[in-house]
C-alpha cells in the first residue's frame, strides 16, 4: 500500500496524518486555513469550541516529550474532546508487551484517534496500517522520519509573517540527518511552492541525496543564509557532539550557531524559527533567540491551532465517511 493511499480515503479526505509527503497542496492550505480560524480561540475567555464533544483522543507517547504532548492535549481539550495521555515509555512495553498488544488494548476502550510518538521511523505508518478502521492516527513524530504537525505549524508561522510561500528562500540549518522535523518541513515547503530550500550544516549532519527531496545542501552558513527570507534552526542533540559527527558543541556554535553578525547575509526582514527546545549558545545565541526577528515563541502558540485543525479535519472525514456509509 502506498503512503498516499494510507493517509487519504477514496474521496481524497484525510484519514490519517502521517507524513506531508504525497499530500496535495490544497490539503495543506486547508489545514492552514482551518488553523487560522482556530488561532483566536485561545485568546477568548472561554477557550473551547464544541466540535469534538463526545470524541476520545489518546495520546500514545512511546518517547518522552513535553512540548508536543502538551500542545496536542490542549488542542484536543479546546475542541471539547476527551483526552487520555498514555506514557508508554514507562508502562506496558517495558513489561514486554508488544506494540500491537498495547494498541489492541487501547482500541478496546472505544477511542477515535491516536496521536503517536515513537522513537522508530515508520512507527506511525505501522500503527495506521494495523489499527481498527474507525480510528485515525496522527503522527506526533516517528524516529527520524516525519513530524508533520510541527512542519505545518512552521508553515503557519511562515505564512503569518510572509503572507505566502511563492518566491521565498528558506534555509534549514543544523542536524538534518537525524531530524524528522526537517524532512517534514522540506516536503511541506516544496508542496507549498517556495522558490528555494537550502539545507545548511557540516557534511556529517547532512543525509545523502538531499537533492532528491528538493533541498540544496550548503556547508557554509554565510552562503546558506544569503538572501533568505526564513531561517529554521534545528535542535542539536548534545550526544551528536560526543561521537564522530562533530568535534564539540563549541565548534558547532562557532561555524553554525546563529548570531547577529552571521545574520547579515540574510534578507533584512528574514525571520528566525526553531522547533524548540533551544540550546542557547549551541544553535543560536540568546540575542538572536530573543531578538526582533525571532518568532520562536509564536510557533508554540500556533502549534495548538494547527493541531486543532488537523484533529478536526480528521474527525470531520470520519463523520463524512460515516454519513456516506449510512446513506
Amino acid at each position: 500500500m502506498s503512503i498516499d493511499n494510507l493517509q487519504l480515503d477514496d474521496q481524497s479526505r484525510l484519514r490519517h496524518f502521517l507524513t506531508i509527503e504525497g499530500l496535495p497542496r490544497s490539503l495543506l492550505l486547508q489545514i492552514l486555513d482551518t488553523a487560522e480560524s482556530f488561532a483566536g480561540v485561545g485568546e477568548r475567555a472561554v477557550k473551547k469550541v464544541p466540535l469534538l464533544r463526545g470524541k476520545t483522543i489518546v495520546n500514545l507517547f512511546f518517547e518522552p516529550s513535553t512540548r508536543t504532548r502538551t500542545t496536542f492535549e490542549l488542542a484536543a481539550k479546546r475542541l471539547s474532546a476527551d483526552v487520555l495521555t498514555v506514557d508508554v515509555s514507562t508502562s506496558a512495553t517495558t513489561k514486554g508487551e508488544s506494540l500491537l498488544d498495547t494498541l489492541r488494548n487501547l482500541e478496546a476502550m472505544y477511542c477515535d484517534m491516536f496521536v503517536v510518538r515513537h522513537a522508530l521511523s515508520g512507527a506511525a505508518h505501522f500503527i495506521a496500517r494495523n489499527v481498527a478502521p474507525h480510528i485515525s492516527v496522527v503522527n506526533g513524530g516517528d524516529g527520524q522520519h516525519a513530524h508533520p504537525t510541527q512542519a505545518m505549524l512552521d508553515m503557519f508561522t511562515i505564512r503569518r509573517h510572509k503572507g505566502g510561500f511563492e518566491n521565498l528562500k528558506v534555509a534549514i540549518v543544523g542536524d538534518l540527518a537525524h531530524s524528522r522535523v526537517a524532512r517534514s518541513q522540506i516536503h511541506a515547503l516544496r508542496t507549498l511552492g517556495v522558490a528555494e530550500i537550502r539545507a545548511v550544516g557540516p557534511q556529517t549532519l547532512l543525509p545523502p541525496c538531499l537533492e532528491s527531496l528538493g533541498a540544496i545542501p550548503h556547508n557554509q552558513l554565510s552562503d546558506g543564509l544569503r538572501d533568505v527570507d526564513v531561517i529554521i534552526m534545528l535542535r542539536l542533540q548534545r550526544e551528536r557532539a560526543q561521537g564522530a559527527l562533530l568535534p564539540s558543541t563549541h565548534e558547532y556554535f562557532q561555524f553554525y550557531g546563529l548570531t547577529e553578525e552571521k545574520l547579515v547575509t540574510a534578507k533584512p526582514d528574514a525571520i528566525v524559527m526553531h522547533p524548540g527546545p533551544i540550546n542557547r549558545g549551541v544553535e543560536t545565541d540568546s540575542e538572536v533567540a530573543d531578538g526582533a526577528r525571532s518568532v520562536i515563541l509564536q510557533q508554540v502558540g500556533f502549534g495548538i491551532a494547527v493541531r486543532m485543525a488537523v484533529m478536526s479535519l480528521l474527525l470531520g472525514s470520519q463523520a463524512a465517511a460515516e454519513r456516506e456509509g449510512n446513506q
Binding site: S98, G122, G143, Q144, C209, L210
Partner: protein
C-alpha cells in the same frame, strides 16, 4: 525404483548438456542404458515442455532448529525445500546453540533422515560461539562433516583474529564463507544509505560497509592462501573486486540471494518491512551489476538465503522487525524470471542453482552424471502461479513476493531416486 523421465529439456551444465532427452534412474542413481529400449521403467514421467535439471543445491537456508523452533523446524523447512526443487541445502552455524561437532554428528542426521525430504549440510563456526574472539574447533567440525566455516554474518572486529582464522582454516582445507560487512561502517544502519533511507529517515548502511570488507578480506585471503567464498553480495563495486581478484587467480567465489536480483531500495518505500534485509537492498545500478555478474559468471551461485520468521517477527515498525525472507519457494520462480527476461541464459541460471554451488561446497552433486545420486528437479517454465501465503510450505510466510505472479514452478523433485515432491 526404476524411473524414466522422458522428453524433457535436459539441462545439465556440469556435462554441458542442454537438449531434449530422457533421464533414467535405477537403485537411487542416475544410469545410462545402452539403448532406450533396454530400460524397463516401473514409473514413467512425461516431461515434455519441462526442464529436467539436477536437484538444486542451496548455499544458505536457515532451518531454525535447534533453538528457534517457534519459527520453523527441520521437518517443515526440508519439506518446503522439496517443494522448491532443492535437494541439498546448507545451513549456516547460527543455530542456538551454535552448531558444534556433536550437533552435526548426532542431532542433524537423525532428524533430517526422519523428515527424508532433503540432504542437509552444515557450515561450522569460524570463531568460538561466533563471538569473533577465539578460533572455533575447525578440525573437529570438519571431521564431524562440516563443509566449510563461517561466522554467519556476526562480526569479527579484530582483524588479527580473522587473519588467524583464515590461516587455521587452510590447515584443514576448509573454505571460509564470509559475509562481507564492516561492523563500524554498518553501525546501526537499517537500509542502503541513499535517497530512500534519507526519505524514510532510516539510518543508512553505506556501500563501503561491503566494499571495504571485501577489499580487506581479499587481501587477507591472498596473504593466507585461504579459499574464500563471499556470501550474499549486494553491491556492484564489491563484485568488481571479486572479478578482478579471480582474474588474478585467487581462489574466490561468490553468491547472491535470489531476491537481490529483483528488488531495490525503492521497494522499502511505505516502510515495507518484508524488504528489511541484511545486506540491505541497494540501488538499481547495483541490481543491474549483480544481474550482469550472474550472467558473466562472476557470481557463481544464486541462493535462497531462506530465513523463515513467525508472524510476530514482522509485526513491528521497520527497524524493530527481524531481517530476512522466507526464500526457498521463490528460488526457482525468481531465477527463471531472469531467464524469461533474457537477462541470463538458461544453462547459466541452472548452473548457478546446481553445479556451481555444489562445487563451492566440495560436493560431487549438482549434475546428472551417470552413477551419481539421482537428485533431480523438474521445472515447468509455463507453470503460472501466484505466491499465496496460505499455500506456502515453509513455516515462514515472510516474503515481499506474496501475491506476485510467476511464470515458472517446480513440478517434481527426486531425491536419491525417490519422488519427494509432489508429496505422496
Amino acid at each position: 525404483m526404476k524411473l524414466a523421465i522422458r522428453g524433457g529439456l535436459v539441462v545439465d551444465p556440469a556435462n554441458d548438456v542442454n537438449e531434449v532427452g530422457d533421464v533414467y534412474v535405477a537403485g537411487g542413481r542416475l544410469v545410462e542404458p545402452a539403448g532406450a529400449g533396454e530400460f524397463t521403467a516401473e514409473l514413467e514421467l512425461d516431461a515434455a515442455g519441462r526442464i529436467v535439471c539436477p536437484g538444486l543445491v542451496d548455499l544458505s537456508a536457515r532451518l531454525r532448529e535447534p533453538g528457534q523452533e517457534h519459527k520453523a523446524t527441520i521437518a517443515s523447512e526440508t519439506r518446503a525445500a522439496a517443494a522448491s526443487g532443492v535437494t541439498t541445502l546448507c545451513c549456516p552455524p547460527a543455530t542456538q546453540p551454535v552448531t558444534d561437532p556433536a550437533a552435526v554428528v548426532e542431532l542433524l542426521p537423525p532428524r533430517t533422515a526422519r523428515a527424508g525430504m532433503a540432504r542437509v549440510e552444515t557450515l561450522g563456526a569460524l570463531t568460538h560461539e561466533l563471538g569473533g574472539k577465539r578460533l572455533a574447533e575447525m578440525g573437529a567440525l570438519k571431521s564431524a562433516g562440516c563443509l566449510g566455516v563461517s561466522n554467519a554474518g556476526r562480526p569479527i572486529r579484530d582483524l588479527g583474529v580473522l587473519l588467524r582464522a583464515m590461516e587455521y582454516a587452510t590447515t584443514f582445507d576448509l573454505t571460509v564463507f564470509l559475509h562481507p560487512s564492516d561492523p563500524w561502517l554498518c553501525g546501526d544502519g537499517q537500509a542502503h544509505a541513499g535517497a530512500v533511507a534519507t526519505r524514510l529517515g532510516l539510518p543508512g548502511i553505506p556501500e563501503t560497509a561491503e566494499t571495504v570488507a571485501v577489499a580487506r578480506d581479499l587481501l587477507l585471503a591472498e596473504q593466507t592462501g585461504a579459499r574464500v567464498h563471499f556470501c550474499r553480495l549486494s553491491t556492484g563495486r564489491a563484485l568488481d573486486m571479486v572479478r578482478e581478484a579471480r582474474n588474478r587467480g585467487l581462489p574466490v567465489s561468490a553468491d547472491v540471494a535470489a531476491h537481490q536480483l529483483h528488488l531495490t531500495e525503492e521497494d522499502l518505500l511505505g516502510f515495507n518491512s518484508e524488504c528489511h534485509l541484511d545486506p540491505p537492498l541497494r540501488s538499481k545500478q547495483d541490481r543491474e551489476a549483480l544481474r550482469a555478474g550472474l550472467a558473466d559468471g562472476t557470481l557463481d551461485a544464486v541462493c535462497s538465503d531462506h530465513q523463515p520468521h513467525e508472524r510476530d517477527a514482522r509485526l513491528n515498525p521497520f527497524a524493530a522487525t527481524e531481517p530476512g525472507i522466507s526464500g526457498l519457494e521463490t528460488l526457482v520462480p525468481l531465477t527463471m524470471k531472469l531467464v524469461e527476461e533474457g537477462i541470463v541464459e538458461l544453462p547459466r541460471a541452472i548452473a548457478a542453482l546446481t553445479s556451481r554451488p555444489a562445487g563451492i561446497l566440495g560436493l560431487d552433486r549438482g549434475s546428472l552424471s551417470p552413477g551419481s545420486p539421482a537428485d533431480i528437479c523438474i521445472i515447468d517454465p509455463t507453470g503460472k502461479h501466484t505466491l499465496d501465503a496460505e499455500k506456502m510450505f515453509s513455516r515462514g510466510r515472510n516474503s515481499p513476493f506474496l501475491n506476485t505472479e510467476f511464470a515458472a514452478c517446480v513440478t517434481e523433485t527426486v531425491l536419491n531416486g525417490r519422488i519427494v515432491f509432489p508429496f505422496s
